[in-house]
Symmetry: C2
Subunit: 565 residues, 2 copies
């Protein structure tokens, strides 16, 4: 698996999904092209999916928000007759390297979380309409929806057959959503998750595995009615959790997410319009530099909507998102990501302020919500993350939030000899205090100052000031303030030292230190479930020659070492 | 590692610890015998420890509660001059099998949790007094104490060098307690946990890694004064968290925990006085049967204290605890544990009622607290757990709690042909509604009925009734009610099916399904940290031939595959 995986796509290139729009309701048909696998060696039978299928779904979900703000309800259903979805393709998983398996699960989890959050963030509710077998990753697609309808035809069923069939765990949040979202009684969950053939009909409803059971003859009718209800509900009522998505009336006109402009250099470097990635292969480092806008903020909403995907905050978001995914999947040996910024902090804050001032506009809301997701994507990236705050940088507001997402921040203190760029400063804004919660549902500053809320308040009081290194250090916002005598050596020593450590131990350490404080379904998925799955993905009982993943389809069950750990 | 590990010990056999008693203060000197390792092939240098050292510590902590109720403060310090403790022995870890490593970490974690909880449960506070190097597992011993004092001698230090030095994680809750108990700012935690040489002096205090920094010349004096203060505090004030440990005045007289009576059969079966374990090696099953008391409950406190460790509730607790540890470490291929009971439920409830009626007596309190710990030990046992409620059984009160700890419960319904024992019934009591919280700080019934508090109340209303299978099923307290026609086949099919699944996948599934609801430091340690550590313990970067654990002590660093996962 050495070819570059592309995360950009668009509807003209979809091979696995169809989308139909009807007023405020969109219907996604999952109709996977068997021959359309991302790699050789497997066929995507029975609506099973690989990363390529999920990249399309992620694109659909994203475009639903930006290109189709009029949509209030999204129905997910199968385009095939007798199967909803058979889950992740097992031959693909059996053949994939460990790091691809893990990254694949993480990306699919992020996509599930993204549409699960769409009800609260964007007033778009997802309904899963199940006919046929809905197994494993298929049922996990359903679990992330807001409402699950199952047809009562005597055979359609939901299942999580991973444990009995494949000796792995459901990898896309299945166990967590069964226990914590749907609150299935644990002995029933135990039965459900260890029963290959799954559960159908009344039992699925009684146990809470689905929300609604509908006679086959009335299926389309009920699904349609329910979709319209949900769409109406999205328009007329605030979200139950009180999130502040902009109210929409269904007459919004979307923008177009044009293709990104990206140049890949021979050394693997990437150049977008606002983001640049430099690669240091020997050092195992990628340096991500985000540039401040060089044009002024939109004058009014009309101008913003006219700019569309070209407006700086959205453009930078899309480019950064693409860059992070590229680094995760295509540059697995770069263990250290350095974040830098350059340009005018005032300009960053001005663009951001426009969004904040117009949060009841759906597009401004979507742009801010998108930054929330990207910042989470950074938190969840299994690389050592460091920010270098240098002269001429612009870590302010949304970009300053990156300082609290990374593991450490080094900040240049005072004048640097021979450097005529402005002294390094950072600046906070309202966005650092609530708009961008982490997976643990706290802000990054609340997490940083866990148990010390006074420190959060002291930081908040600095809004409006641009802070030099000494002040930032005093407020606990950076790790080290270094003058130009120490800067180069200290940073170099850190980078070399970090590169010398075991990547696995660092992944485990960072996953444990980044998410202090309360746990949520999301931290549980990425912290607990992922860790167990990573372990199981290494164990001979799953991936050994006689393991269940390898033997899948051969008609022979896995042979297991019975020692319990 | 095939010899049987014994978990019973007593002070006359200690090789690694000394305990001195002085009024309400006890001092534990860790003074590990280099030659006293549990296995061949390593020396326990620099106060490093293996399971044998920890078994002694667990014994000390347990006896402190039952044999020394007069103690209010326990000081943990080193019996050696220049080192506090170097942590878990690395050669031992390097040579141990995966399942032993994992079980070792779990047991040491349980011991840390046990003395960490002693302040709230038993009014015994632990103080760690550090002189010399306190590294890795050594600092984790300290982190679980209520108060950490470090000497300021220019060299004594605390550290978690696992990641940089050994390519594994601190395995005894270090990362979790750094982030969530001591709330160290995450960039500082990142530095601390990736710095081999650790932190000393003022920085350790400023960062919150220790509670008190004391000049070397005043060290003993301050430690002594602090211990007396903590002991006084234990006597005079309720615990901060409002737990209801029995108030003590320091004049309590302990009981003696006499050696357990245990017979091991040739087939590995175990017979205690109230607990029997039958082994089905082909089926991979151990059946644990607990017998109701056959004598009446103590008439008064004098009688209870006279019986001491022979009183049924304490005896059964000690035997069950020993049995669980034996199964975990010495019977790793028995993947399925069946719990049964036999005898008179009224007698179980009578003995329990005596404890409840006398909860302000320190011994009754300790016995109930001990059951809390054992039930947690069951929750955390990585085996499939099932309860069979048969005619003649006595799952009532404390024993009924086992029904809610296991993954599934099968209950016999009505008369069984040819079986003249009483019809199977279960009965709840007050203990099922608050006294025995799980690691997630909910009761097992609250966890079972997450999101459905009415079901908890309905169960509570049944206190006083003995419920037949139909009623128990109606209340959601069991998984299946089976009559004598279905019983044998259904149970057999389940046992065979379960035995056919991958033990690893079952471990991961059960760890994800058992602890729904809120997360705590404990669930985070056992759910998140353990899972990541298990993964890392499998990775070549740690345990491969060129991995850091294998190369430790060779002078050559580990060679790492740099791919990040």
């Amino acid at each position: 698996m050495t070819k570059i995986i592309e995360f950009e796509t668009d509807p003209s290139r979809y091979r696995h999904w169809r989308v139909e729009y009807d007023g405020a309701v969109a219907t996604l048909f999952m109709d996977v092209d068997e021959a359309g696998g991302l790699y050789e060696g497997y066929e995507l039978k029975l609506n099973s999916y690989d990363l390529g299928v999920d990249i399309e779904l992620a694109d659909i979900v994203q475009r639903m928000r930006f290109e189709h703000p009029e949509i209030g309800a999204v129905v997910m259903r199968s385009g095939k007759d007798n199967v909803f979805c058979a889950g992740a393709n097992i031959r693909m998983l059996g053949g994939a390297k460990h790091d691809h398996k893990v990254n694949f699960c993480k990306f699919t989890n992020e996509t599930r979380n993204t549409y699960e959050a769409a009800a609260n963030d964007s007033g778009q509710q997802y309904i899963c309409a199940i006919k046929g077998s809905c197994a494993g990753g298929g049922y996990e697609l359903a679990l992330a929806c807001n409402h699950i309808i199952l047809t009562d035809d005597g055979s359609s069923n939901v299942s999580l057959p991973e444990v009995p069939l494949l000796a792995v765990l459901p990898g896309t949040g299945g166990l967590t959503r069964v226990s914590d979202k749907r609150k299935i009684r644990r002995d029933r969950a135990d039965i459900f998750c260890s029963t290959e053939e799954g559960v159908r009909g009344k039992r699925a409803l009684d146990w809470g595995l689905v929300d609604e059971l509908v006679a086959n003859s009335k299926f389309d009718e009920v699904v349609g009615a329910r979709a319209r209800e949900f769409a109406d509900h999205s328009k007329t009522s605030a979200s139950k959790n009180g999130s502040k998505y902009a109210k929409k009336n269904g007459n919004e006109k979307g923008i177009v997410l044009e293709p990104l402009q990206r140049i890949i250099g021979e050394d693997g470097s990437l150049t977008y319009s606002t983001v640049e990635i430099a690669i240091d292969r020997n050092g195992g480092i990628a340096t991500i530099e985000i540039s401040a806008p060089n044009s002024s903020a939109p004058g009014d909403l009309k101008e913003l909507h006219g700019e569309g995907a070209q407006s700086w905050m959205l453009r930078a978001a899309r480019e950064l998102d693409d860059a992070m995914l590229h680094l995760r999947f295509n540059e697995t040996e770069l263990g250290l990501l350095i974040f830098k910024t350059s340009g005018d902090a005032a300009s960053v804050l001005a663009h951001e302020k426009f969004m904040l001032d117009n949060r009841d506009d759906w597009l401004c809301n979507e742009i801010l919500q998108y930054w929330k997701r990207i910042l989470k994507r950074i938190d969840l990236t299994s690389r050592s993350l460091v920010a270098l705050v240098e002269p001429g940088s612009c870590f302010a507001g949304t970009l300053a939030e990156i300082l609290f997402a990374v593991d450490r921040t080094y900040m240049a203190e005072g004048e640097f000899e021979g450097d005529n760029r402005p002294i390094a400063k950072i600046g906070l804004s309202e966005v650092n205090f609530g708009l961008y919660p982490m997976s643990n549902d706290l802000t990054r500053l609340e997490t940083r100052f866990l148990g010390a809320p006074d420190n959060v308040e002291a930081a908040r009081a600095s809004i409006g000031d641009m802070l030099e290194a000494g002040e930032a250090d005093e407020l606990g916002l950076i790790t080290y303030a270094l003058d130009d005598i120490d800067w180069e050596d200290d940073v170099r020593v850190f980078l070399e030292e970090r590169a010398s450590y075991s990547p696995d131990a660092l992944t485990g350490m960072e996953a444990n230190l980044r998410f202090a404080g309360p746990e949520t379904m999301e931290t549980r998925i990425f912290g607990r479930l992922t860790a167990w799955q990573n372990w199981i993905f290494q164990r001979p009982n799953a991936v050994g020659e006689e393991g269940a993943l390898q033997r899948y389809g051969s008609g022979i069950r896995g042979k297991y070492d019975k020692r319990r750990v």
